[in-house]
Symmetry: C2
Subunit: 361 residues, 2 copies
Amino acid sequence: MDIVNFNAGPAGLPRAALERARDELLDIAGTGISIMEHSHRGKTYEAIHAEALGLVKDLLGVPDTHDVAFLQGGASHLFAILPMNYLAAGRSADYVLTGDWSKKAMAEAKIVGRARVAASGQVDGKFVRIPKEAELDRDPGAAYLHITSNNTIAGTQWSEFPARGAVPLVADMSSDLMWRPTDVAPFDLIYAGAQKNIGPSGIAVIIARKDFVAAGLETIPTYLRLKTHFDAGSLYNTPPTFAIYMIRNVLALVKESGGLAAMEEKNRAKGAIVYGAIDGSGGFYRCPVEVESRSLMNIVFRLPTEALEDAFVKQAEKDGLIGLKGHRSVGGCRASTYNAVSIDGARRLANFMGDFAKRNG
Amino acid sequence: MDIVNFNAGPAGLPRAALERARDELLDIAGTGISIMEHSHRGKTYEAIHAEALGLVKDLLGVPDTHDVAFLQGGASHLFAILPMNYLAAGRSADYVLTGDWSKKAMAEAKIVGRARVAASGQVDGKFVRIPKEAELDRDPGAAYLHITSNNTIAGTQWSEFPARGAVPLVADMSSDLMWRPTDVAPFDLIYAGAQKNIGPSGIAVIIARKDFVAAGLETIPTYLRLKTHFDAGSLYNTPPTFAIYMIRNVLALVKESGGLAAMEEKNRAKGAIVYGAIDGSGGFYRCPVEVESRSLMNIVFRLPTEALEDAFVKQAEKDGLIGLKGHRSVGGCRASTYNAVSIDGARRLANFMGDFAKRNG
């Protein structure tokens, strides 16, 4: 039985990217050894490293004003080092709170310096929407304005990003980058844990304005300065070579498959299918998110009772539809429909949802 | 032609660990998906995570006073966060300088607080020896004493570790951990980038006294506190799941092959073969390191001229002996003989060295 993997991350990876890894695992590029056994200063690895960085630039059309780096640690690491790099004594940063991850990001900024809520997506204590541009209460002196562009737990997503304004714009795009074409130019810094649409866990992709990177504080430890990694071409220290190799495999496939425009078309089709199943269920399935703020990456929904939700997740798993349990902090169900989920996979889920509702409605 | 991989790190991995990864790459434990596609909160991954941590404890006989954690970022990351965790205002740390990596570690401590040289392995400006216990000028009030137990560039290695004394003992064992049985009890903190004897790059293994971990400063960002990762069982955030899976594969093999005592026997045999080739060459090959301080992990040697060194590295590569170029900062040749290099591989190198000396001596 073919598995459809709706995990929120680490997420499914394109089959062909994994097959390539399997086929090359003991012998990369005719060298007789594994990519994991190559020196990060050798030609074989360096070519793959450059290709992976180049694919990020190419797919997103990263302009010359910006550069790309890879960094270990994931988004949680960036939560910490972002304010360390930019919150000089007395400075404050603005955060838009749209879910648990933005709260966590802001909490780290408060450890380092001052941070302020510029807007919130909470209604009655629940994160069910993305604030509109006009709702943003911006501090004109902020070191940066931080948003979380897709919220994996809440199931909300920014469809249009706020204008940059006078303050540097920073986005955690962990669950958002590479599912559609994105103009990175207005952003001073974008960071994304790879384990959703880009590659395996254990690495983050950072896209940043060169002058913003250069403006980072130089009084913090070397490894924690973003500048260190940009200046060294992501080779300041031994990088996670296999993770970067997998990013190469995944993004090379995205490019071959028509690039991000093709991904967007596919992802919108999947979203229409699954949200269609929710909205067409006569209330059996219910999405708690405001329609305009719905995420196309993480589709959250509730059933009439928790017992039915449990049964739904278990029976779906028997049908090969895995990873449908909602985040433990909010309960319910969640279908994460990242790039690697096929349109057919979304249809199988919608069909299962229809059948399950008929049997239990 | 079978390759013998003398890379300094990322280093060679046991063939069987890679074959297992290849065979399981598309379907781990009958789940129908790759280990990279599993949630880090799911049963399949959690079992592997626990097995990997358990193998570290088991192989090293880690006592109940200590615990083990995995952390992204490698040793360079630890250079930064070690002083952040332990250098409270006004505190100082002692560093024993035995090579470039200990210098880098100390430089990061100086960014955070105060650091002091407790001893140096330099003679005439070159790192050619490990200081004796009696040479250590210890600060009794130091927050910790830091050593680098094996020096990949200098080719030196501590054969006996300094006594703990009154000050917490911390060791960077990146290129040292898991090649022989090591009593971890006297150490308050051991850290090691995995990419030598333990697994692929992109992850560090940390072994620490529980009370030392608990004593870390809580005023620094959450992710950078060692306590965060120990308390969360190395699952505070999404871990590099594939890297940890590979650690499991590698250490399971070490255990099956007789554990660390068997590794030590093999590594000492390899060292005897390669150092034997150097010492028996009538001066054609010369090891710049004091005999008592010679490393069994990184065997550095010089030839009569740099031109001969270049020719040596190139011809060896044609014979399948790769990675023999010395570090770019010191030149010369280097054979890194980590666990995955076989005794036969060491013999092939020694034979090649003998032939090359005959042809060029």
